[in-house]
Amino acid sequence: MVAMPASIYLADRQYEQRVFQFRALIVALICLFLLLVLAVRMIYLQVVHHDMFSTLSQNNRLQVIPTPPNRGLIFDRNGVVLAENQPAFHLEITPEDVVDMEKTLSGLVEVVNVRPTDIESFKDALKRRRKFESIPLRLNLSERETALFAVNRHRFPGVDIAARLSRHYPFAETTAHVLGYVGRIDEEDLINLDQANYRGTNHIGKLGVEQAYEDILHGNVGYQQLEVNVEGRELRILEEQAPVPGDDLQLHLDIRLQQIAEQSMTEKTGAVIAMDPNNGAILALVSRPSFDPHPFVNGISKKDYQALRDSPVQPLFNRALRGQYPPGSTIKPALALAALELGADIAHETVNCKGFFKLPTDDRKYRDWKKHGHGKVDLHTAIVQSCDVYFYNLANQMGIDAVSEFLGLFGLGQPTGIDVAGEKPGLLPSREWKRKRYAMPWFPGETISVGIGQGYMLMTPMQLVQMSAALATAKIYQPQLVAALLPKNAEAVPITPVLKSELKVTNLANWDEVRLAMRDVVHTDRGTARGSSWGTKYEFAGKTGTAQVIGIAQDEEYDEETIAEHFRDHALFIAFSPVENPRLAVAVLVEHGGHGSSAAAPVARQLFDAYMKYYDVQ
């Protein structure tokens, strides 16, 4: 009996232990089962879906950053740099590091010159950027600003000065109308852009050579594959493909001639173009006034842009390519050649010039520039003295159809095809044109004005120089600014001149007659441009022109002194030199300059002088 409680106790103990052991076994099995679930889960993640997670992990840590290529340089024909990339200091902001953006911006305004437009474009850029990418606030800080900011830097966490390459044009205004400029890529550019190749590029050619040769100058973007952490900070470069810099360009332009052309225009408004008539190479192309391209590179302020745009002298307007003017008397040599070639009787007759011309059917008087007339004139004299009556008569006899067909051969009415964009086609009137334009027939009186390059007829300075070259060599080349592409590690690729057409002169004597008459315009006492040849050791041929801006009423007289400047006539001059084997053709236009002889011809003379000196022509 005494042992009983102990045995019950022992039995209980054994029972308890058995129960526990059974339950522990169940728990162990559950544990193993759950561990198995975990193991299966791991296999599911690490084996079955390994590829997917691997890719995700790569995407996490890798970031491809574009490295923009260096833009190709632009040289003149002698290797003088016209467009280069200069290190410039930009003020850049990394927004992640900025504590209070508004406060930072307002603080920066006190230190450096930050304009409202800068802040505007900064905020635009803020919307479309990668994490931790810095955004330029101000481009091209001055040395003073750089120093001022450096002193105050501690006040602006997240703001820093970055050294970047910035486009720089050493000759600024002088080459602005030729080279154009690069500007920040805008919404419009984005439409036609190869976006992949322009990742990382901020600027694009907007005008001129910079625009026309954008593909060549830009080059190809490179990239850096970076390892980044969760915040997007760069840790190291894993892979790198260097960008391919854009090709350099060599222009036909001779910066010395360009400068002389610009200087000889002094304060005048107008255009000067010098072209090699043997291949279309443009040696100088000046449009005055010009503008400084650098504000456009760095982001021009609205105010400055409006000032330029609304300026009455229109510095942004490229007169050389887009200005369309009546050619005036400069059309006469071409007309004379037309008459000779067509075998018109008039070409070999003399005309008695009394100071005006009248159609038999009409009372209207077509006046000569010389009030009392030139007297008896033949073709030669008519060109030399620029007799209007002679050419009224000539055009009238030839008729508009012959005139416009032949002048078409000189490229009138069509763009010259120069290798930059924006050129205007001018206007070559014809019966068909008038019917289409005004739904009216051609009146005989209108042919008479065409005879002295007035009326409907319009030409750009580019077309003028092309006509001048055609008179010089009888060949019409496509004008060309760029001479060759200069790839970095390869042979230069010259651009072959394009011969657009040739004047089929049936009788060389006809051509000689015109050329010699043009020479006598310059080199004889009675020539309209006689003053401009004084003291030359070489010969050149030319033709002055004066284009009316306003119509003068029948009995009114044109008085240069009293007329307002902007109604004054345009002065023109076309020329080439030497007379035999011409090397240089020139066209000069001076808006409201008055007479071609006094305002335009001296400019050409200076160009020829310089050319002869530099190129050592006998």
Binding site: D12, R13, Y15, E16, Q17, V19, F20, Q21, R23, A24, V27, A28, C31, L32, L34, L35, V37, L38, A39, R41, M42, I43, L45, Q46, V47, H49, H50, M52, F53, S54, L56, S57, N60, R61, E227, V228, N229, V230, E231, L235
Partner: protein, 375 residues
């Protein structure tokens, strides 16, 4: 040759003797040391090769191991006597926290004792099973309804206090420890089933008591892709780390997810993902096998323990350890919601290491006492 073998045998028995004298189970002790060593290795990588962090963790582990050795020396008899008093003290500390506790990460968990700051809730993970074992082991099996009610109150009281702090993870561990105690004490299957149904029924109720961030975690768990940059980010990045590790892993110190900061909490709660990324499936299976061994060894010690109290304490401690593991790994692999529960003995951080190792010290003691009796 012969003498060498004798020497080896002598050496082996010397080791056995040392373990016996220190009241340690060699298999459990060695597997714990392997786990700790592996943990330090992973921590070194996860911390970004931070020597200072490694040193601090090493120091904690040292304290833990010393505590383990100390507790291995305390007989189960004494532990049993202390149990109710420890419980009363623990509840007092939990109440004290609401009065003077430090706020860390938006929850009151810490009690500053001047020299040490500690989390009483952490210790409750041990005290609750001890007290329940103390209470239940005196009763006849299977426990009667009123005993179950009392035992439930014993673990529900601290659970409620801890959940109020709020510390959902620890509350859950305390709850699971209590539940395990009841199960191991022989509560009938019918009661087990009823309790489970009750818990499930209580779930929607619990939702009402949850904090905003706790609800968010559950929602995020249900659909992590819904919120890839917010709360779901942790789970997605962790899965990427594990999955990209593949079979062989990216190699020690070469995990990109962890080293480039994509993986959040990578040296604490998400350290398992670092292991999975760097050591691959092989590393994962090895550490899971190691955990399995420790758990099975613990359950074996429990099964062989000398009395009901020891069995329940040993079993509960072992299973608490297992719950840590399953919840943590389940969380980092996207099987369970994100609850702040570390990977036991591996994750960087304070009180849980010491608590866990004290628990293993008790297991050692229970194991030694059994041998002492049978020997």
């Amino acid at each position: 040759m012969f003498s060498n073998e004798v020497k080896f045998a002598e050496g082996e028995s010397l080791m056995r003797e040392i373990f016996r004298r220190l009241r340690l189970d060699p298999a459990l002790f060695l597997s714990l040391m392997v786990l700790i060593g592996l943990g330090l290795l992973i921590l070194y990588s996860a911390s970004g090769q931070n020597g200072a962090m490694l040193l601090r963790q090493g120091f904690r582990l040292l304290i833990g191991v010393i505590s383990m050795l100390v507790f291995a020396q305390i007989s189960t008899h004494k532990l049993r006597l202390w149990s109710p008093w420890l419980y009363v003290g623990g509840i007092f500390c939990l109440l004290l926290i609401f009065a003077v506790g430090d706020v860390g990460k938006g929850a009151q968990r810490w009690l500053d004792l001047g020299i040490v700051r500690f989390q009483p809730s952490e210790l409750m993970k041990l005290i609750v099973p001890m007290t329940m074992a103390w209470y239940l082991s005196g009763k006849l099996l299977p426990p009667k309804f009123k005993h179950i009610v009392v035992a439930t109150i014993i673990f529900m009281l601290p659970l409620a206090l801890i959940a109020k702090q709020p510390d959902l993870g620890t509350a859950m561990l305390v709850g699971s420890a209590g539940f395990v105690c009841l199960f191991l004490a022989g509560m009938s299957w019918w009661w087990m089933f009823s309790a489970s149904v009750l818990v499930c029924a209580a779930m929607p109720l619990a939702w009402n008591f949850m904090h905003g961030y706790q609800r968010q975690r559950v929602l995020t768990f249900l659909n992590p892709e819904n919120d890839p940059l917010g709360a779901g980010y942790h789970i997605i990045q962790s899965k990427i780390a594990i999955g990209s590790g593949g079979v062989y892993g990216k190699g020690w110190l070469n995990g990109t997810q962890s080293h480039l900061d994509f993986l959040p909490e990578r040296s604490t709660d998400f350290i398992f993902s670092v292991l999975a990324e760097e050591f691959g499936l092989f590393g994962v299976l090895f550490i899971l096998a190691l955990f399995a061994f420790i758990v099975l060894r613990g359950l074996r010690i429990a099964s062989c323990a000398k009395d009901g109290y020891s069995r329940i304490v040993a079993g509960s401690i072992t299973l608490t350890f297992f719950v840590y593991l399953i919840v943590n790994v389940g969380m980092v692999s996207g099987l369970l919601p994100v609850v702040g529960i570390p990977l036991p003995l591996v994750s960087y951080g304070g009180t849980s290491i010491v608590t866990l190792l004290i628990g293993f010290g008790m297991l050692m003691s229970i194991n030694a006492d059994r041998r002492f009796i049978s020997g």
